[in-house]
Each structure stands twice: as C-alpha cells, then as structure tokens.
C-alpha cells in the first residue's frame, strides 16, 4: 500500500515516459527506444495501481488472469497481422479503447465509492459530468471505429451512405446528449446515463457512414483523436494524471494527423465530416472521355527497356501496390536497376494508402531503406529531371487535373508532378477511375505508357525482362 501522493508522482512519471515515447518517433533511430519508454510507462502505471489499492484478495488473481488473457490475444494479433491490414487493426484497436472507456465509466457510475466519487445516487457533480462526457466520447469512438473497421475490411462498402436530414439528425442527437447530461446531473438517474451511452453509439455510426473510402486516412486519425479525448475524460473522473496526460497527447496527435491528411487532400475538415466524397461519379462525363482519347499501352518488355536506358527512376507507390502485395517484387526490380547504376528513389504522397504513413511501413517491410523514400514536398521538383516515373497502384495522387481543372473535385489537392518525367509507366489493371471517382488525365498523355496488369505480376515480368 503506497500513499495517494506517492502514487500520483508515479503516474506523473509514467505520463512523462509516454511523452518520451512519442518524442522518440521523430527519427527511426530513436523510435525503438521511444517504444521501450512507452512500455516502461505502462508497467509503472499498472504496478502503482495495484500497490495503491493494496487489496490483495482473490479478486487480484482474476485481474491478473484477465490481464493475461487480453495480453495473449493482443500479442497474437500483433504477430499475425499482415502490414497491409494495419489500417483495420488500428481502427479495431480504437474501438477497444472506446469501449474500455465506456465500461470504466459505467463501473464508476455503478460503484462510485470505489473511486472516491461519492455514493450511488449522490455522485459528485463534477465527476458525474466528467464520466458522462468520457462515456459519450468513448461510445462514439467505439461505434465509429467499428464502422471504419468494416469499411476498411471491405465487409461494408466504402461508398458513403447519406440520407436527407442526416446532418440535422446528428445535430439533434448531439444536443440531446448535452441536455440528457444536464438532467443526469440533476436527477442522478441510471436510466438517463444508459440513454446517453446508447445515443452516443448511434451518433458514432451516423458520423462515419457518410464518409467515403477516399477519406479513410482522415477518419482513422479523427477516431485516434476521439479515443484520446475519451481517455482524458475518464482521467478527470479518476483524478489520474497519467490518464489525463496521455489523453491530451493522443487527442492532439490524432487532431494533427487529421489536419495533415486534410491538407494533403485539399479538403476542409468540415467537408470530410459532412461526407459524401467519392460518390460524385458523374457517369456521362466519364463515358465521354473514355471513348474519345487514345491511350498507349505496353508490356513488360517495353517497360524494362525504358527503365534499363534511364539514368534515374522515381517509383510512385499507392494502395494498389499493397493490395497486390507487389512491394517485394518491386524491391527486387529496384535492386536490378541499381545494379545497372540507375538512381532509384520513392515518392510518397501523404494520403497514399489507407492511413497516415501506411506506404512507408509497407516499403520498410520490403526492406527499402528509409533514406530512399521521400515525401511529396521533398521530391516533387525531381520529376522534371528524371527519366522514368513508375506509378504502381497510385492514381488520384498523380492526377494533373488537380492543378488544371477548377471544376474537378480534387482541384487544389497537392499532387505528384509525375507527368513532368520524360516517360511515365503506369501499372494499372484497367482505365477505371480511382477512389475520387474521376478520370486521370495522365493516362492520355503522350509520354505515358500504360501497363495493364496486376501490379505484382507486371513487376515480376519486368524483373525477368531486366536480365
């Protein structure tokens, strides 16, 4: 049994270790050390909690048992999950944080004495507000993340689901939650508490269903942020510094990532939330373009020839590469090119993939050195001086329309200036448009050679032809 003051100091230490964990991610070299800081912080927080309760009854055995069960499940998932499925995994994990926050809030509401918050029916006002906000945000995080998970997994269509009056309904429900919390404080009614949680579950679903597949990177970051705010809300209830610090860190981290993602798509946060993006396939417009413009298409041999005679090649990977699992074949191709003294670099758009930094992880998995991988603003000027751009699985992020056509839904979005390369090799299965639902002008440029095939198969064929 340790005193509450000592426990509070240890919680502060664990909060600081969490800050250092994030700080470590400023460079790959320090990142692993950062992760160890995070683990240390977590161990301190858990051990101190046990010590501060000091109630070593049979309950403790069960607590440790449940801890081990959860830990084993978590460890199993962590080792089994393929890197391409990281977005779903993170969405799934967010939902667990959200639900855990809801359950802790419920436990505190049903047994406030255990948390020093007063007695049943007479919970301290501030604590009641804090726990109901924590529970509401947690519930929104939970159901929202479940929807995001289903969309990312492809169990649910990525197309936005909208209906008239949707935003008004959300607004009414949002106000309803606040009104109910107000009455909850007056009456301490259990029924109102449950109602707040149930409405919040609905709000979570309603918030995410109208958001289309292309906006998924924003959604994941946003839910990341929510899970932080939920944790902070519970932290206030429990008067726990570690939880408050962590909640604030995670909340701001998610908010910054959402901001970065929105900026990379030139979309305002509000318009992402309101949703509907990815639905605007004006069908006639597409058809008209398709039968008018000719495309040049080639095969693996042409591609190999072009690259062999180049002196610099820039690879532009996108989510399609991940789906086709082509990253390892790609790495093989690059190795061959490098042997011929060809300079190869990778250009990554911030929204390539389904979550922030997803492409970087996939390339890292294929053993691509991270100093050959460049972000949009660092490499965009190099396209003009390069011989070949090899676009594999990316689409909208290379579309020059974003720079030229103010009517286009992606106008103003920062794109990779792929078309400035002497020649462009574009690996794609068909001429179908990308997630934004618009045609890519790049397909019809004179210096573009389309390689119609599965990304992995095409890359393997090119490797053969490079010999």
């Amino acid at each position: 049994m340790i005193s509450a003051n000592l426990a509070a100091i240890f919680y502060l230490v664990s909060g600081i270790l969490f800050i250092l964990a994030l700080r470590g991610l400023s460079s790959p070299d320090t990142s692993r050390q950062g992760n160890y800081f995070g683990i240390a912080g977590m161990i301190i927080a858990i051990v101190v909690t046990f010590l501060s309760i000091g109630n070593f009854s049979t309950s403790l055995v069960y607590v440790i048992m449940f801890l081990v069960i959860g830990g084993a499940i978590g460890a199993f998932i962590a080792f089994k999950i393929p890197m391409t499925a990281m977005p779903e995994l993170v969405a799934g994990f967010h939902s667990l944080v959200g639900l855990a926050a809801v359950f802790v809030a419920i436990a505190a509401f049903l047994n406030p004495a255990a948390f020093n918050l007063g007695n049943v029916g007479d919970i301290k006002l501030a604590s009641l507000i804090e726990m109901s906000i924590g529970a509401a945000v947690g519930a929104i995080t939970f159901s929202g993340s479940i929807i995001a998970f289903l969309k990312l997994r492809g169990i649910m269509s990525g197309a936005p689901i909208t209906f008239s009056g949707q935003h008004i309904l959300n607004l009414i429900l949002g106000i309803g939650i606040f009104v109910l919390i107000f009455y909850l404080c007056k009456t301490q009614s259990t029924n109102i508490f449950w109602t707040v949680i149930i409405i919040s579950f609905f709000v979570g679903v309603l918030l995410i269903i109208p958001i289309g597949g292309a906006d998924m990177p924003v959604v994941i970051s946003m839910l990341n942020s929510y899970s932080g705010w939920a944790a902070a809300g519970i932290g206030f209830t429990l008067e726990n510094t570690a939880l408050i610090i962590t909640g604030a860190l995670v909340g701001s981290s998610g908010a910054i990532l959402s901001y970065i993602m929105c900026k990379a798509m030139n979309r305002s946060f509000v318009s992402v939330i309101l949703g509907g993006f990815g639905a605007d396939n004006s069908a006639d417009d597409k058809k008209e373009k398709k039968d008018q413009k000719p495309v040049k298409s080639g095969n693996a041999e042409d591609a190999a020839f072009l690259m062999k005679n180049a002196s610099s090649v820039i690879i532009v990977p996108g989510y399609g590469m991940a789906v086709a699992q082509a990253q390892h074949a790609l790495r093989e191709m690059v190795d061959k090119l490098k042997k011929n003294d060809i300079k190869v670099t990778y250009a990554i758009h911030p929204v390539a993939g389904r979550m922030p930094g997803h492409m970087n992880v996939l390339l890292a998995e294929a053993n691509v050195p991270y100093d050959e991988v460049f972000e949009l603003e660092d490499i965009n000027n190099d396209f003009a001086n390069s011989d070949v751009a090899f676009v594999i699985g990316a689409n909208d992020v290379t579309n020059p329309v974003a720079k030229t056509d103010p009517k286009s839904p992606i106008f103003g979005m920062p794109v990779l200036d792929v078309e400035k390369c002497k020649s462009v090799l574009f690996v794609k299965r068909s001429l179908s448009p990308g997630y934004a639902g618009i045609d890519n002008e790049l397909f019809y440029k004179d210096n573009t050679l389309m390689l119609f095939a599965d990304a992995k198969k095409m890359t393997e064929d090119i490797v053969k032809n490079l010999d």
């Binding site: 969490f18 800050i19 964990a21 700080r23 991610l25 790959p28 950062g34 992760n35 995070g38 977590m42 309760i53 309950s59 403790l60 069960i69 959860g70 830990g71 499940i73 460890a75 998932i77 962590a78 080792f79 990281m86 995994l89 993170v90 994990f93 639900l99 855990a100 359950f103 436990a107 505190a108 049903l110 047994n111 255990a114 501030a126 970051s221 990341n224 899970s227 932080g228 902070a232 519970i234 932290g235 206030f236 429990l238 510094t241 939880l243 408050i244 962590t246 909640g247 604030a248 860190l249 909340g251 701001s252 998610g254 979550m355 922030p356 930094g357 970087n360 992880v361 890292a364 050195p369």
Partner: protein, 103 residues
C-alpha cells in the same frame, strides 16, 4: 480562497495538449503509422480505471455488476496494450533491418 484541485488537473491537461502538439509535429511522416499504433497502446492506460473497478468487489462477491464491467475493460485494454506496443515494435524493427544492411 482555495483553488479547486480540478483546476490543477485542467492545467495539466491543457499543458499536455501543448506538449502533444509540439511533439507530434516533430514526428517524421514516415513514422505516422507507428505513431498511431503507439498512441493506441498508451491510451489504454485507461486500464488503471478498469483495475480499480475490478478490485472493488468484496471477497464475498468478487463479481458484482460494477466489477464485471471492470474485468471486461481489463481484457479490452490489455489487448490494446500488448497488441499496440508489440505491433509498433514489429514495425519499428523493419525500419532498423535495412539500416544495418547498409552499414
């Protein structure tokens, strides 16, 4: 007049948001995915609340309504803690491998 302890916690909260703001902007974009998985893991420090709730049962009734919610929350948070830290570690390990190869 005494200052409510809530104000102190609020101060910690606001200052932490600022710390988070500056720390996260310095995270290199190539590590944004590990950033998300590690923030996931650390936000599961909510497990401390779950442990308190779970241990609140008396020795006669280890499982009452409140503690059952605590126990379930322990499992959920534990999945996240172990899963989050381990998957982050796995990813960061990949960033190391090639570095060594180069040297």
């Amino acid at each position: 007049m005494e200052i409510d302890p809530f104000i102190f916690r609020l101060s910690i909260f606001i200052l932490s948001i600022f710390i988070g703001y500056y720390v996260v902007w310095s995270v290199t974009p190539s590590l944004h995915t590990p950033l998300m998985s590690v923030t996931n893991a650390i936000s599961s420090v909510i497990i401390v609340g779950a442990i308190i709730a779970a241990l609140a049962g008396t020795s006669e009734s280890i499982f009452n309504t409140s503690s059952i919610f605590g126990f379930i929350a322990i499992i959920l948070a534990a999945i996240n803690i172990f899963g989050g830290f381990l998957v982050t570690q796995r990813m960061l390990q990949m960033y190391k491998k090639k570095k060594d190869k180069k040297k």
